[in-house]
Symmetry: C2
Subunit: 240 residues, 2 copies
């Protein structure tokens, strides 16, 4: 059973403001719920169609075809400055997202980071919110395995450089990525869907890369989607 | 000016059945409309907010934020069997999509094919329809530059093999793609979001590839999204 008040509280979590006030977010799907339960995050409550009925599940779900399970999960605390320091000190291969605005792209990028063993994902403060239902679902569970750190991004770029690590970014005038020896410690900056890497971050990139079109130098009117560009870049870093 | 009947006719094109009956589809956005006009396709009519007003544009648009321009375009004729023969005889590097179901994925894959100079894209009959508005918009104009051929996919795989070209596919038990010498003539089969490459096509793949997770052999619960896997595969084929 589920009360009307409870249905209302869960539905409210589809809005960012309500998620932030309650410190809670929603995951849907048997697999996602199982991964939430197996993760270090606190699962506040789990609802199954077999317990609450299809009508109630339709009311609390944000999917067009509701799944049989939904969980409410507590948003974890953001890492402290000293935790960020330790991450950088561990000399990771990390991603930095500069103003990525599409929830599906952010979720897909987190899934890619998980597949390619990227140790951390930094995001500018104006990157789309992590706990948006579309982002959560697009991660396919990777949200429970990756730490996403919202931060002052230009300062993180500087800290990587100060620690002697390269800061990579993709630009239309960059060097052909296939020919560059890519280090396994460093930061890879990906830009927004519309504007690429912003000026503040661009000036702090130490290694400018290009994913060239084929044939080389052919003029295509459009760049690659940011999640697609992230996937190709990560695959080339991890080609081993 | 635009009549009520015209508004109704354009709105109807958001449904597959109506598109097929009318032989027309819709593109939206200044850039998309400009590319349609510059392409070999027949543009039946163009509507601009500056001519018809914001209210009418809202009514004919399928976007949540309507753009200033929309065009109605005639669906081109499907290629004949002999045209398919000529495409295969040209020894192309081509993609084959087996039951891709998500419109956004299909559009993104066409955009990727355009970037990487993939000469043709074959699709199984049960692949999502090309002229779905979400697919059209996700191509970012690449739909005007690429030929997408719906066909009996297993027979196309056989025709590539008969012509002496390799048929590649990605599988969890495939060979590490980074170590394989990838031919520049051949067919690359990508599977559906949920089930990968179906049995009928799988048995006709001659070269089984794997995009390995990092670290190699690590167990991740989820595969890569099909558009992401396509991007990585195409990038590796075209690394030159």
């Amino acid at each position: 059973m589920i009360s009307k008040a409870e249905i209302k509280r869960i539905r409210a979590l589809s809005a960012k403001k309500q998620r932030e006030e309650a410190g809670l977010f929603v995951v849907e799907g048997e697999k996602m719920v199982a991964e939430a339960l197996a993760s270090s995050l606190e699962v506040v409550s789990v609802y199954r169609t077999s317990d609450i009925g299809e009508e109630a599940m339709r009311q609390i779900s944000s999917l067009s075809s509701p799944s049989p399970a939904l969980a409410v999960v507590r948003i974890p605390e953001a890492p402290s400055e000293s935790e960020i320091d330790s991450i950088i000190a561990s000399r990771p291969l990390a991603l930095a997202l500069d103003s990525v605005r599409d929830p599906g792209n952010l979720g897909t990028i987190i899934r890619i980071a998980d597949w390619f063993g990227i140790d951390a994902v930094f995001a500018s403060e104006d990157t789309v919110e992590l706990y948006n239902p579309k982002t959560v679902q697009a991660t396919m569970g990777a949200i429970f395995r990756k730490e996403i750190i919202y931060c002052n991004l230009p300062s993180v770029l500087e800290r990587f450089t100060a620690a002697g690590m390269p800061v990579y970014g993709t630009f239309l005038d960059g060097e052909d990525i296939y020919g560059v020896e890519l280090q396994q410690s460093g930061l890879v900056v990906m830009g927004s869907e519309s504007f690429g890497i912003g000026a503040e971050c661009a000036s702090r990139v130490t290694h400018r890369l290009l994913i060239p079109p084929y044939p080389r130098g052919s003029v295509t009117s459009e760049s690659l989607n940011v999640a697609v560009a992230t996937a190709i870049t990560c695959a080339l870093f991890r080609r081993g």
